[in-house]
Symmetry: C2
């Protein structure tokens, strides 16, 4: 396994492989890898000749009052995990090489990025699409992998790839959960034992939504109301949003019919968590 | 010479060539080709194994009150010119394949696009960078060619390529002029005989700027004042801007020293013309 910090060296090596007809699978991450990330890596390992993982805590996707500085970092452990999973190349760029002096080019997916997480994090997705597009330009993957946990992110990236005819296939892999069903996230490390218990309400409420739906409930309002009650039963829980939406347009669905995304963001104390489930 | 309307077919063919190690030179145009465009094509022909020209009048870079509908189109003649210049592939996409339903992804170079032409055409460069990035994704050129006449456009595209690490080299080729020194532009077709005479004032004023500079004048204000007088001597001329700026940052230069861009945009009646010269 090789570790690259330099854009040119990585690109040269990947160019060499591509000219030999090798395929490239790519997993972009912010590091502090968990089983969610590793499930993407393992899938890439199955699909492609060469697996590239990037580790870059992207400053541009954090708001001014968000947790860029506190975001957990553990490069050594990440590299060991990558090696164990059969990764071929890890790309660990510095902020200055991703954002050279005078950097001023941003990609934005309009509309889709304005609701849900985008409503409270107004420049978040602009930062995500910009860095992901740049990483795609550097790595030129045949397939790139994203987790379903960040449902809106996956939808936004798929839209970007389609709109700009980016020559890459996007695969979105299922949420991986802890033993207590909490969706895996690097930010779970912020939770103390008590918060962690309260955080279980996210998944509980999604499970309740699925059960209500299975029993025949199609009215989004009623389902959301039940979810809200379950979450607000926890003393430190603050709901950012609970939505039932079309999984491509993210438009609100009033009566559920066909494939539908139930997604939520909840703060437990200072920690913001997201989770979702697809009905049908 | 092959003509492609379909993104996938073009991409497949270019992929085949690239795997054989062939290099691709690309000239994106809006058609109605003139010697300015052809100078880019000829340069591409010298530099690369395969020359691709795109012809696409990009609706997204026109403002609501601009000349998208009137913009001159003459595909047959364009194709004949391309053939004569040894072009290998011409890409003529439809609006729907460049902007599929639900299209919502835009690239924007902030700062650089806000002055000069961007001041009066607020979404123009966002449309240019979006379509050029998409064309690069489709054609995957090794080198792409732009004309110096659109000086700000060239600067913006270079910035975009650098910022996003797009795997393409940008070459900017000199302005090609008519016999009367008017910078070649598809929009020159809008000018009647009288307007055409008045349009000569653009180049006259740039020539005057160069001569003043050569005689030792370093004060931008004085040079601009002389240029302004020369242009406003024409009865239908309205100045949009005359600037003397740094050719990378587009920041105003007060005392000229080192490489400097003198650029202007002038309306002669309804026709908006641009031209520029580089000092030093």
């Amino acid at each position: 396994m090789k570790v690259y910090r330099d854009i040119r060296l990585l690109r040269r090596e990947i160019g060499r492989l591509k000219r030999k007809g090798k395929t490239v699978g790519f997993v972009p991450t912010m590091g502090f890898l968990h089983e969610g990330h590793l499930s993407l890596v393992r899938r890439a390992r199955k699909d492609s000749d060469c697996v590239v993982v990037s580790i870059f805590v992207n400053p541009v996707q954090f708001g001014p009052n968000e947790d860029f500085k506190e975001y957990p970092r553990e490069l050594k452990k990440d590299l060991a995990l990558c090696k164990r999973c059969g990764v071929d190349m890890v790309f660990v760029p510095g902020v200055r090489s991703m954002y050279p002096e005078g950097f001023s080019t941003y990609l934005n997916v309009e509309g889709l990025t304005e609701g849900l997480c985008g409503a409270k994090r107004p420049r978040h997705f602009r930062g995500v699409t910009t860095v992901v597009a740049k990483l795609f330009n550097i790595v030129s993957p045949d397939i790139a992998y994203f987790g379903q946990k960040d449902a809106q992110q996956a939808i936004v990236i798929k839209r970007m790839v389609k709109d700009l005819a980016l020559p890459v296939k996007i695969k979105v892999m299922p949420i991986v959960r802890e033993k207590d069903d909490l969706a895996m996230s690097s930010r779970n490390t912020y939770l103390d034992r008590d918060s962690r218990k309260q955080a279980a309400s996210l998944h509980k409420s999604l499970k309740a939504a699925r059960e209500l739906y299975k029993k025949g409930e199609k009215d989004s309002k009623k389902i959301i109301s039940r979810m809200r009650n379950l979450i607000l039963a926890e003393k430190d829980a603050e709901i950012d949003y609970i939505v039932i939406v079309d999984p491509e347009t993210l438009m609100d669905v009033k009566k559920i019919s066909g494939k539908t995304l139930v997604a939520l963001a909840v703060r437990i104390g200072k920690t913001r968590l997201i989770d979702n489930v697809i009905l049908n």
